[in-house]
Symmetry: C2
Subunit: 242 residues, 2 copies
DNA sequence: AATAATTTGTCCGTATGTATA
DNA sequence: GTATACATACGGACAAATTAT
């Protein structure tokens, strides 16, 4: 209905895309909600439907909307802002966003430290480790799949404790470690594998953000190292000076 | 030739994977180099070829090796470590890694600020901006495709200056800004689009790391905002306390 | 230029141990 | 305890792509 104003000097599709983006930002279209049909948008702006399609494709490319054939185009839910700082704890971050965090133990195994892991944890090669596989979610929506390694000597019942407390911070607290910090964080991306796709409820081929990190105690002793895969379409890492 | 020692209690394929990973870490297999054939590895470890394939699949999953049918399995070149700090400059980072950085202007256009951009740059909606499309590479290997927006009023000939100096830092210096810092950095991932795939020399479906950032002057005035897409298989963001 | 050899990818099957219901 | 499912490990055969002859 409402005709939108178009200015000169900018590609039409870009103006349409900007207009829709603004509408999403203003809350005129709500997360998860459906946009008007392509023809209707085209009428509103007084442009051809193909111009609208070009605009929607650009927005879809950036992950703002998601088109479903036969159904409509929907506004993607806002990505969860996930700050990466030296004090990074999943539960606190999700709580801060007003969501309900949950950690779920998938599997735990005892295994000897490989060369790489031994180096990161400052242990001898072959030292007994626990490898804990977990799934983390916010309000029931899966966010990340993580693999955590920690000493089986220093944390004798880590899997059991994690299963009960559902949080790695609480596991460390259980062993008397009240504070710890992130020593290093490395970020890459790859395509989700079949197992993670199932757990994270992602379609095949979707990208995941891979975060490898080492957490150390206040005195610098390595505590645990982990490799987490985040559903890229649901999170956004934010880096701001500490 | 050399028979490898196997221990009990750990899945065979995992032991083989650890062994190969260690060999890569030790430099016994060099980046870009070829691993022995699957059958040869199987003989070395005294396991079935399928067990080796399971191990190689795990390493390929983590991006350490890359298999080419008919040719062999190769050690992936180490990802470029790309530190993200408040002082983040592409050329300095690449130089620090002993590589030759290069910035190439692809296109530049004048366009009015959309609502989102105006907010980020603290300008009025519709204020004239330059949108600069650039390709950045290290030793001739494309690393990232970036779109940068900056005020066309404050930086009247930014595209020309960038084309000549090939560095955004030098563009700012040309306008008397000797120092600036990153105000915010947001990281996501998505699948490469066709245009970026061609420029970055990436196969379709490969993931890219998307970095949206805002740079400000020493006094906090926003200078430029950008959205860069990095070939995920060639870089690794590193976050360490400033 | 055509063929053979090599190497990874896929599919079949068999057997065993280990959780889980 | 029994049955079922799953991961692991091995063996063989062939397809598909690449490289060497």
């Amino acid at each position: 209905m409402s005709a939108e104003a178009l200015s000169a000097g900018v590609a039409l599709w870009r103006q349409v895309a900007d207009g829709i983006e603004q509408a999403i930002a203003d809350g005129r279209y709500l997360p998860g909600g459906k946009l008007p049909g392509e023809t209707e948008i085209a009428e509103n702006y007084g442009v051809n439907r193909h111009t609208v399609r070009r605009a929607l494709a650009a927005l879809a490319e950036r992950g703002l909307v998601r088109a479903e054939r036969g159904s409509g185009t929907f506004v993607r839910s806002r990505r969860i802002a996930y700050p990466l700082r030296t004090r990074t704890r999943f539960s606190e971050i999700i709580n801060a966003g007003g969501r309900e965090p949950r950690g779920q133990l998938i599997a735990a195994e005892r295994e000897p430290a490989s060369g790489a892991l031994a180096g990161q944890l400052d242990l001898a090669i072959g030292a007994p480790l626990f490898r804990i596989e977990a799934l983390r979610s916010a309000d029931g929506v899966p966010i990340s799949r993580g693999t955590t390694w920690l000493s089986a000597v220093r944390f004798p019942d880590a899997p059991k404790v994690f299963a009960a407390k559902r949080s790695m911070t609480k596991v460390l607290a259980h062993y008397g470690i009240s504070d710890y910090r992130r020593l290093s964080t490395r970020i890459t991306a790859s395509v989700v594998d079949a197992a993670d796709a199932a757990r994270l409820d992602l379609a095949a081929g979707r990208p995941v953000l891979v975060v490898e990190s080492i957490d150390v105690a206040a005195d610098g002793t390595p505590l645990l190292t982990s490799r987490a895969r985040f559903a890229a379409e649901r999170v956004e890492f934010v880096i701001e000076p500490d």
